[in-house]
């Protein structure tokens, strides 16, 4: 039996034979080892059959000795397909070029639109974007993703509260919400001021209300400091008490610090590698150098390629290999104690409101324990301890 698949690959020809002695011609072919198949008789003196493309020369030889006239009526198979494809290569090239151009243009930023910002802010945003490399005509996959853009913008442009970043096809939309000047205060309902925590009063500054404590008084948490009820007996009035009551408060903190720490610091050297990926397969495009870094920190960034308005399953991936250095930090006991105190102070400062001040610091206890120092500190802090408490009116 014949393997038609092989014939398709090698190419086959349909032959039309006309004349007498077609049977003899076929017999001769078969004897010569020419494979013949699908023989059909159309009338008394015409028949068609298929032979391999490679047998055509031998068939001509055989046919010369017969009384038949041969003509070729059909061609199938890969060789003919290629010939046809080559003839149409201009068309294919055009189609390919068209797809390539659409692909290229789909991956370019065509428009940057900023909405909801005052002209001044808009200009500022535009300038900031330009500095970040976001411009008309750059490739989309080289930019940061919208979340990062959003974060960077909010950090760099002080006048905006929020910015929404969104891709709409090939245009990048920014929706901006600007910081607004706070509206005039609404009238505050009557209230007292009470102590936030236990303290010794250091200073009083009352704008409105009746102060009930004086300097050097010791107050408990929740104790009334400034009353919102003023006026003589019988002719009382409710007012929103306001003001500041500075009290001396106390904090205790414990810091444990090891003498030896290792951590990684970036040296600033890096190599970048660019890939095009499909699924899990990564095809390197640029950057093959093997970095000679001992310690590295690897960052990867992935951005999809686009075609028309769709994201393709193809994506661009940039892998940045940064050199890291291992740094060992060693403290002597004295340095460690000093550093621990510094850390404690910093931590406390971060916890306290801005107007608070650390008045004094006292080491309660400090100890060396296997490779670490342990410091307990006591702080005296001057801070505003007044918090409002609404007066429940009624009865």
């Amino acid at each position: 039996m014949k393997n038609e698949w092989v014939d398709t690959l090698a190419g086959s020809v349909r032959v039309k034979a006309r004349g007498k002695g077609i049977e003899r011609l076929i017999n001769a072919c078969v004897r010569q080892g020419i494979a013949v198949w699908n023989v059909k008789k159309h009338s008394a003196d015409t028949a068609t059959f298929f032979i391999k493309l490679s047998d055509v020369k031998r068939l001509r030889h055989v046919a010369r000795q017969s009384e038949c006239k041969l003509s070729f009526v059909g061609r199938t198979g890969l060789p003919f397909f290629w010939r046809q494809a080559w003839r149409n290569s201009g068309f294919w090239l055009g189609l390919l070029l068209f797809i390539a151009i659409v692909f290229l243009l789909s991956n370019i930023v065509w428009k940057i639109e900023i909405k909801g910002a005052a002209p001044e802010t808009e200009h500022q945003i535009a300038r900031e974007l330009k500095r970040m490399g976001v411009e008309r005509g750059v490739f989309q996959f080289l930019l940061d993703d919208p979340e990062t853009l959003q974060k960077k913008l909010t950090e760099r442009v002080p006048d905006i509260t929020w910015v929404g970043v969104e891709w709409k096809g090939t245009s990048l939309h920014f929706r901006v919400v600007e910081k607004e000047i706070p509206e005039p205060k609404k009238p505050i309902p009557p209230r007292h001021l009470v102590a936030k925590k236990e303290a010794v009063i250091a200073d009083l500054f009352v704008e409105e209300g009746q102060p009930l404590v004086s300097v050097n008084d010791y107050v408990q948490k929740g104790q009334l400091l400034v009353s919102g009820i003023i006026g003589a007996e019988g002719r009382t009035k409710f007012v929103p008490a306001s003001g500041k009551v500075f009290g001396e408060t106390w904090y205790k903190s414990t810091v444990v610090l090891p003498l030896e720490t290792t951590f990684h610091v970036l040296t600033g050297k890096f190599t970048e590698r660019h890939y095009v990926g499909i699924g899990r397969l990564l095809i390197p495009v640029w950057g093959w150098k093997k970095p000679v870094f001992a310690h590295t920190i690897v960052e990867t960034e992935k951005r999809p390629f686009r075609f028309w308005k769709w994201d393709l399953p193809l994506y661009y991936e940039r892998i940045t290999i940064r050199e890291a250095e291992e740094v060992k930090r060693r403290y002597t006991w004295e340095e460690a104690f000093a550093e621990a105190k510094e850390i404690a102070r910093r931590e406390l400062r971060a916890k306290l409101p801005e107007e608070a001040a650390i008045r004094s610091e006292k080491v309660l206890h400090q100890a060396k324990e296997n490779g670490k120092v342990r410091v307990e500190l006591h702080y005296e802090v001057i801070e505003n301890i007044a918090v409002p408490q609404p007066i429940v009116q009624g009865d």
């Binding site: 039996m1 014949k2 077609i22 049977e23 003899r24 076929i26 017999n27 078969v30 004897r31 494979a35 013949v36 198949w37 699908n38 023989v39 059909k40 008789k41 159309h42 008394a44 028949a47 059959f49």
Partner: protein, 94 residues
Amino acid sequence: MVKKWRQQMKRWMAEKLELPADIMMDLPRITMVGHIHIYIENHRGLLAFSDKELRLLLRNGQLVVRGEQFVIKTILPEEILLEGKISQVVYIDE
């Protein structure tokens, strides 16, 4: 005389030794699948072919296949596969 004697000898061997007759006696082996396929081995060449009739030369005699819409699917020096609507298979002795 010798030819006939040899033929008889072969037939006897085929019967007694249970050897396949087509090999021993150079007879055609014909396989048919319903009336749509016919596969003939051991033929000696094509004598006539049209879409209604196929005539094959055998070692002694001819084989005529009649039917409709005949197509020779494959033809090799000693084998032929015919497709179509087969109605008759006729042996013609010399």
